[in-house]
Symmetry: C2
Subunit: 225 residues, 2 copies
DNA sequence: TTTAGAGTTGACCAGCGTGGTCGAATGTTG
DNA sequence: CAACATTCGACCACGCTGGTCAACTCTAAA
């Protein structure tokens, strides 16, 4: 049936994995992502991965030739996930800083609720750097970093900020404030499954903070007064 | 000479360590702090510690009966260090939030420059929780957490904030802003020895941010206008 | 000079967890 | 039936673990 790719000459061993039912792929991926996220490359254990994934040891090395290849696959997968489920959704035409950051926060939250492990794992491979990775993948990581950077810093209309202060500094103060709220919220929510949480009350709280930020850092609309 | 404590009945094995020359104690302590900070309790290696400290394997277990005891000693040491070199120096009578946070930031920076490893290690044992620790020490950790919390949240005069916004929210926004600057500065400075850095320009930059915060979040002094 | 004992070393130990292999068992397909 | 893909976990060699200990040096008192 779907065995075409496997039978062909030049089929990669990894194709065996990609032709698995999605639910099984997902189980293995999540187990592996969580393991690497928790321990980093060197100290991650393939034994713990297979146990958590509910498969025999042999299968992991039937799907992937080595721990290394598994890791590379996960990096590639995470990169694609973050790009398509998060970065691509951002409207770069939004020139208002608070609107932009709110969008970033909301989309990231949604993507994170969809697959928490990917984001935890990405923190690991961003920190571990090029070690254990072919240069091509390392370049892809750098690209994604750049893309994220642009989404955060580029095309913002700083003329809306209060005129009596350095707009670059105001920019950062707003960014830090929103980051701070996000971080603290995430800390408050540790232990719970993100996907199960009703975020409505938190968004309300968040908007109250934004209102204060606008009042404090934006030029008032009514000229003098 | 200083062998009195060792010869006495009831002398602890750890006294051998405490009677060493300070420089040697320091070498061992720093090596161990760095190792535990980098790897956590379980994955920290006593072999790497002795190598980094420049002593033979045997000596570590001559000074400390076990890895566990070494860990407990380091926790105790770090607690005392942070208390005496940081928390105790804070002037809790300062009721202005920005002044208080500035003080906190400055004192923490100074203490961190004095012994970076202690702070990195403290992040580890705060996260690892009570595991590997006698309840008495765990209680001490909790005390220090509380003390830190009070220094950050207690006795602040929120009446100075702009009247048109929820003072608790303004409080947090200011806190996040200052935290954000501190974190970003620390990130910018990774790799350099904190102790070697001339912080003067950074403090200047910091004060520029504070001026904006005051202008934006504090009630203006000149009544109406 | 002898000697007791503190200080110091690193080879060594049993044990465990590692990434990876493989023969055998079990589908699945023709 | 045969051919082949899939699945398993016992097994392997190995590296590193926390901890021990016989041997050695150093110091200082007798």
């Amino acid at each position: 049936m779907w065995s075409t790719r496997v039978k062909k000459e030049g089929s990669t061993i990894i194709a065996r994995f990609e032709n698995l039912e999605e639910s099984k792929q997902q189980a293995i991926r999540q187990a592996a992502l969580a393991e690497f996220a928790a321990h980093g490359y060197e100290k991650a254990s393939t034994n713990r991965i297979v146990k958590a994934a509910g498969i025999g040891k042999g299968m992991l090395f039937y799907y992937f030739t080595s721990k290394q290849e598994l890791y590379e696959y996960l990096v590639k997968y995470s990169l694609e996930f973050i790009q398509s489920r998060y970065l691509d959704k951002v409207d770069a035409a939004e020139r208002d800083l608070i609107e932009r950051l709110t969008q970033l926060a909301r989309l990231k939250m949604e993507a994170q609720a969809e697959n928490e492990e990917v984001f935890q794992f990405s923190a690991v491979f961003l920190q571990e750097g090029e070690a254990h990775l072919p240069q091509e993948l390392a370049a892809n990581i750098e690209e994604m970093k750049q893309a994220g950077y642009k989404l955060m810093y580029e095309g913002i209309d700083k003329s809306r900020f209060r005129k009596d202060s350095d707009p670059d500094k105001v920019f950062h103060l707003i960014r830090w404030s929103i980051d701070g709220y996000q971080q603290e919220l995430l800390a408050r929510l540790t232990g719970q499954k993100l996907a199960d949480i009703d975020f409505a009350p938190y968004w309300e709280e968040f908007y109250a903070y934004l209102a204060i930020l606008k009042k404090s850092f934006y030029e008032t609309e009514e000229g003098s007064r």
